[in-house]
């Protein structure tokens, strides 16, 4: 289990093949010399069983929700229903070409339309685009929509600023830059809400809008959301809702009712699309009617019992991704929503119950920066462990691996030192929460009694802590075959020293 897995290139042997390709008895046309390949690409050469074994072996060096508890804050690592994997593979979905005639894809268009209808109901807003491929892309799309809206009113030049709280996820300011806006920060107060007085001073006719997650990355619902709404709408600005934390409030509070004009949903968070080691995701947006004209093309429209794609949208911002969007993600999310029905409310209730239960088990042993009930996630600080025993949030995270858990998010949000951001989700059993709390409490005891065990964690994983500084200083980002120099470390130096002796 702990030997390194060779790179697939290191397992390669000239002459092996893993897949035979059809070869019709037809001549192959010649290519002009200046366009023809001179040297073949050095792709792996293995037979089929060896390829499967290689990737299976790699998968055993990885931890997924299927493996165990994965409480990453704001990631909503809930169970990914396996029936969804079966459904995306049905040929009637899997084999569709995105440019097929609408006649031939009525089922796909109907699914997209119905998915949009559920998103409208959950958000309390009016018009949908399923096109964005991820939350970040939804954010950029939403901001570009806002620019188009203001430009249409002759106000784009005047309104250059987007307000973002200091608890915001890094994608928010990055999206602001990509949309060509400027960032106005606002602080969080002692209750974990946006500082409303500071906000009032900073919002004026130069403001385009607000980007906010609610509940925030602190796992707290902003108690002043109505006042915030009045401030922004009062100056003619718009409100953007980052849907990363929607799992807390489905069927309980709707972003449209909170005052938001544009919302993105993370289908790979709230609606169970598997994360796949980093993607794919889906970031559909839902908007108020006044922003609908600017949505990316095409929209999915129902005419009686037929469905079609509407490209006749002269004010559209264009396209942010090919075709209608990541359809396989829609199949899974739609199936998930249909499995729950109106019980999506219960999904959020259990998510919030699980989080508050776990919080009660941990709040005395760790510091709780904001003394409130949480929503679907909460943030603790390991600051006390750092101060008293020199054990950081990172150390806690690495030691949790030895207990069989994936750690929570660490060092985010930035406003909490030594932050541990914990989101259990609704699909965890009480016993799992109890076991995780036990481990977190054991680590507190270990910090006092045997801190070195924590500092050298994890033990028993394929690798110990990795030298990330070295990886950035001397980036090795591809295998270089004969020229490849694997980085050496203490182990190899010892070997060299022994040779010399």
């Amino acid at each position: 289990m702990n030997r390194p897995v060779p790179l697939i290139y290191e397992r390669s042997q000239a002459g092996r093949r893993g897949l035979a390709v059809p070869r019709p008895d037809l001549p192959v046309p010649e290519l002009p010399d200046e366009l023809a390949r001179k040297e073949p690409p050095r792709l792996p050469e293995l037979a089929e069983p060896e390829v499967l074994r290689h990737f299976t072996e790699l998968s055993t060096r990885n931890f997924g929700i299927d493996t165990g508890f994965y409480p990453l804050g704001s990631c909503t690592m809930k169970y990914n229903p396996r029936v969804n994997e079966r459904l995306v593979g049905v040929p009637g979905f899997r084999d569709l070409h995105p440019l097929a005639d609408e006649e031939d894809v009525q089922g796909a268009l109907e699914l997209e339309w119905r998915l949009g209808e559920i998103l409208r109901e959950v958000t309390g807003l009016d018009a949908v685009s399923l096109q964005p491929a991820a939350g970040s892309q939804g954010e950029l799309t939403g901001l570009l929509l806002m620019r188009a809206y203001f430009e249409d009113r002759g106000e784009d030049e005047q309104r250059r600023r987007i307000v973002i709280p200091d608890t915001a996820h890094g994608t928010n300011p990055a999206s602001v830059t990509m949309a060509g806006y400027e960032l106005t920060p606002v602080s969080t107060d002692a209750r974990g809400n946006i500082d409303v007085e500071e906000l009032r001073a900073k919002v004026d006719e130069h403001t385009a809008g607000l980007m906010l997650t609610n509940p925030s990355t602190l796992g707290l619902f902003d108690e002043n959301i109505e006042a915030i709404r009045d401030i922004f709408h009062g100056v003619g600005a718009l409100m953007y809702y980052d849907g990363a934390n929607l799992n807390a409030v489905c069927g309980i509070s709707r972003p449209g009712d909170m005052g938001f004009d544009v919302v993105h949903i993370n289908l790979h968070k709230t609606f169970s699309q598997p994360h796949g080691g980093g993607g794919p995701g889906g970031g559909p947006i839902v908007v108020r009617n006044n922003l609908a004209p600017f949505l990316p093309v095409p929209l999915v429209v129902r005419d009686g019992d037929r469905y079609r794609l509407d490209y006749d949208r002269p004010k559209s911002i264009g396209k942010v991704r090919g075709y209608t969007g990541p359809f396989g993600v829609f199949v899974r999310s739609y199936a998930f929503m249909r499995a729950w029905g109106p019980g999506l409310r219960e999904m959020s209730e259990v998510a919030v119950l699980n989080a508050n239960y776990l919080l009660s088990l941990l709040r005395d042993a760790y510091e709780l920066p904001f003394d409130r009930l949480c929503m679907h996630e909460f943030v603790l600080s390991a600051r006390g462990l750092k101060r008293d025993h020199g054990i950081s949030a990172l150390d806690v995270a690495k030691r949790l691996m030895d207990y069989g858990f994936h750690p929570p998010t660490v060092y985010f949000p930035l406003v909490v030192p030594e932050a541990l951001m914990i989101e259990p989700t609704e699909t965890e059993a009480k016993e799992t929460l109890d076991a995780f709390a036990e481990a977190m409490l054991a680590i507190v005891r270990e910090a006092r009694d045997q801190p070195d065990t924590i500092r050298s964690a994890p033990h028993g994983r394929p690798v110990e802590r990795l030298d990330e500084v070295r990886a950035a200083k001397q980036p090795i980002v591809r295998y270089a075959f004969e020229e490849h120099k694997h980085p050496t470390g203490a182990g190899e130096r010892q070997l060299e020293a022994q040779k010399g002796a």
Binding site: N62, D66, M77, V90, L96, R147, G279, E349
Partner: protein, 441 residues
């Protein structure tokens, strides 16, 4: 509900531990004015068997053709069974981004292997871990060029995929780019016109094989860009790179494209993956995740996300991009597919596509149909005039069980009678004969 473990007894115990009477109390911080008090107006919950029936009924309303020559950016290539098997490993499927490398060596090493494959195919030095699709990576590359040159004009060939061009223009708004298009000339692009347009440009973006399936004079287009000190960006097809020269070897500093042809089902347009590769000196400007090799505390080799100071979670408003979730699982599918093929298999796939496309051209022209660009070399796609509107031809062919291609008139003036026909290694000479019968009975 079978995704939930909590029993009534569990809930009671948990509420007591928290110190509240009801679950409703947990939501007391939500102001009354924004509470949603009614039930969600959605259809009732479905048990798995019923859910399956519902979704299968929806799928049955779709009609994927048995024989399809529709390409135009997304292709009916064969996806080997081992690809599906690897993607179903729960340790890959249900894992998050590998921010905790000790728990994620599987994904990290796989991405490192993918990055290596993309570099080999494109002849470049660094690849990211994927972008959303073949359209957005083109926009990303244009922005990299802007950052590298300080210029904001971007030249794009008209023969580049219309969806790619549309997305580049949408992103140009936020990126502060001016997009200038160079029209095609008989199915390919004239390097002299590019040279002229590329003055003061940050980048020249061209696709080869282009949207018409024609091979552009790619080395000359790259040279035209380089002479103007603009960055040459090639939008390429992974499946073609077993027989076509690597863009890095003919003067391109960046290469991008839609990865779907390697390893992904068509799935009505996604999810797929965009790839982006660059020359070494662009590494710190690249968007997206990059995996690097390093050692652990015991000197053992391992893999981590690296150069993260480019990314949103560190650099925030100064990040090279806002991208976080990308398309890792689909890129993994691409890696598996390429690993099964190897260099010889990839070459043979390209050759088979070309041989079959040539056969189709010959049979169609023998029946009196004209190629739109008869003097151009093509790869796996070509444009043919069908003697009436392409949309009529498609409708008639569909009635005979054949999807014959894409109506080019949707995107290009004067081509209403032109059909873009794609021929992959999944097609056979008999199927091509059926196509010919359907188009020229």
């Amino acid at each position: 509900m079978s995704f939930i473990s909590l029993t009534d007894a569990d809930r009671e115990q948990m509420l007591a531990t928290i110190g509240v009477e009801t679950v409703g109390e947990l939501f007391r911080d939500i102001p009354a004015g924004v509470r949603f008090e009614r039930e969600l107006d959605v259809l009732p919950a479905l048990a798995e068997a019923d859910l399956t029936r519902e979704l299968e009924q929806l799928a049955a309303k779709n009609d994927p053709p048995d024989v399809s020559f529709l390409g135009a950016g997304i292709y009916d290539h064969y996806v080997p069974a081992v690809v599906d098997a690897v993607l179903q490993r729960g340790e890959f499927l249900t894992a998050y981004t590998p921010y905790q490398p000790e728990l994620s060596q599987g994904v990290l090493q796989a991405i490192f292997e993918y990055q290596t494959a993309i570099c080999e195919l494109t002849g470049l030095d660094v690849s990211n871990a994927s972008g959303y699709d073949g359209t957005t990576v083109a926009a990303d590359a244009c922005f990299v060029a802007k950052q590298a040159t300080g210029r904001s004009k971007v030249v794009v060939t008209e023969a580049t995929n219309p969806q790619v061009r549309q997305v580049v223009k949408t992103y140009a708004r936020g990126f502060g780019l001016d997009v200038v298009e160079v029209p095609h000339n008989g199915g390919t692009t004239d390097p002299d016109r590019v040279r002229e347009a590329a003055r003061d440009a940050a980048a020249v973006l061209f696709q080869s094989p282009n949207f018409f399936g024609c091979l552009e004079p790619a080395p000359d287009l790259a040279a035209a860009a380089n002479e103007a000190e603009a960055v040459a960006i090639a939008h390429v097809d992974l499946v073609s790179l077993g027989v076509l020269e690597a863009p890095g070897n003919y003067g391109c500093a960046l290469a991008v494209g839609e990865g779907q042809s390697a390893g992904n089902w068509m799935s009505y347009g996604g999810p797929h993956y965009g790839f982006l590769a660059a020359r070494r000196d662009y590494i710190r400007k690249l968007p997206g995740r990059i995996v690097g090799e390093t050692v652990d505390a015991a000197g053992k080799r391992g893999y981590v996300l690296t150069l993260q100071t480019r990314e949103q979670h560190i650099r925030r408003e100064k990040a090279t991009s806002n991208i976080t979730t990308n398309q890792t699982l689909l890129a993994l599918a691409g890696l598996v597919h390429l690993s099964l093929l190897g260099p010889q298999g990839l070459r043979e796939t390209g050759e088979t596509c070309m041989a079959l496309a040539q056969y189709a051209k010959e049979r169609l022209t023998a029946r009196g149909l004209e190629l739109v660009f008869p003097d151009r070399t093509t790869f796996k796609e070509f444009a043919v005039r069908v003697g009436r509107t392409a949309t009529d031809a498609i409708r008639d062919a569909r009635a005979r069980g054949v999807q014959p291609g894409y109506a080019l008139g949707r995107d290009y003036p004067g081509l209403d009678d032109a059909l873009l026909v794609a021929v992959t290694e999944r097609r056979t000479p008999e199927e091509i004969d059926r196509l010919v019968e359907a188009l020229a009975p």
